[in-house]
Homo-oligomer: 223 residues x 2
């Protein structure tokens, strides 16, 4: 999960970054309008946290730009101004949520989760990718109409790869997300290889495949 923080106050930025990295998001930051536009132009983010009051431009302009480009990154407006008017303007321009400062990090996390959930799974429990259909409620997976059963780890890996769709997932990120933060960095990644092998075997009829990226991690390939 990749998040862009657009925020000019350094301290605020650091707080947010730290909190989000704790939650295992990949965090990038832009501290002004120009840098934000560049990043957005080049990368896709799952969620953009957008401060309205930037030194060199209006955050709302960025939002307009996003939509004009047809990007559909999630956007949460973070603003010191909490006038109803601003709020409405932001949501009108297609923001997903509006969070007035000051706020608790827990609140931010909750909003982000909500946005990610809405976007990744359209609010419903069915996820379809290639010929793979997943009911996230019952954890039932169908490949070409045939039901297959994944165990906990396999399911968790698959969902993480899907959440990051075409993006590259490092082995460290995968380990942290699926196994937790107690894993030893000096460990070998044998346990990942093993699970990936089983997952692949169960998914051999699928049009999506788990591809290794040598020296880095894995990546979902569609078709």
């Amino acid at each position: 999960m990749k998040i862009l923080i657009v925020e000019d106050e350094q301290e605020m930025l650091n707080n947010m970054r730290q909190s989000l990295e704790q939650e295992l998001y990949i965090v990038e930051a832009a501290s002004n309008f120009k840098s934000a536009t560049e990043k957005i132009g080049v990368y896709d983010y799952d969620c953009i946290l957008l401060d309205i009051g930037l030194p060199d431009g209006d955050g709302l302009e960025l939002l307009k730009y996003l939509k004009k480009q047809g990007k559909d990154d999630g956007v949460i407006i973070v603003s010191a101004k909490d006038s109803l008017d601003d709020r409405l303007k932001g949501l009108d321009l297609g923001a997903d949520d509006y969070l007035p400062k000051p706020f608790h990090m827990a609140e931010l996390n909750a909003r982000i989760k909500a946005v990610l959930r809405r976007r990744n799974f359209d609010g419903n429990t069915l996820v379809e990718i290639g010929n793979v259909l997943i009911d996230t409620e019952s954890r039932i997976i169908k490949i070409a109409d045939e039901k297959i059963i994944l165990n906990r780890k396999e399911y968790s890996i698959l969902m993480y790869l899907i959440a990051n769709k075409t993006r590259l997932v490092t082995k460290t990120a995968l380990a942290e997300h699926v196994w937790g933060d107690h894993i030893d960095q000096t460990d070998s990644f044998d346990f990942i290889y093993s699970q990936i092998k089983n997952l692949r075997k169960k998914m051999d009829k699928a049009t999506i495949t788990v591809e290794a990226v040598y020296g880095v991690g894995y990546k979902l390939e569609v078709e």
Copy 2:
């Protein structure tokens, strides 16, 4: 929830134990200074009921020892002497409450509850996590607005996991905390598995799940 009674009068001890076990606490006891120090050194308690007048040492010394060790168990001083001076001394040394003898068991229960609440859940009688709502007063659990009933062990396990939220709980710690000090290290953990299974079944509609960490223990997963 685990409570240590430090008390030398056998009858008093039995009364307290019975009353507390009725309230579904895990109760352990020490009848002298030495035994109390040992227990405190080895285990963590949610609350310690400390009699001041011990045959082989001053209860207040125990309190000092606790603080020096950096332990933050809750402490309620139970004493026959009700001089203002003693009371102040005790609270000064970091006790959470002071209960003069004689007292009604109901009074003791109320004080314990207050201490536990203050320490574990910031004074809130309601604990909310994911779609799970717990009234620690009545031990009623609601999952997605549906009432469910947990028995003693299940409740105890859940609360311990929640108290440790995202942190990892080893099986030994869990056993020690929920079952008390009579567990044998050479034992299998079958009795834990059994309870975890039941707890999971009752919580299958919850957005929080109990995840096993291979070879170590369990961990609460939110969402």
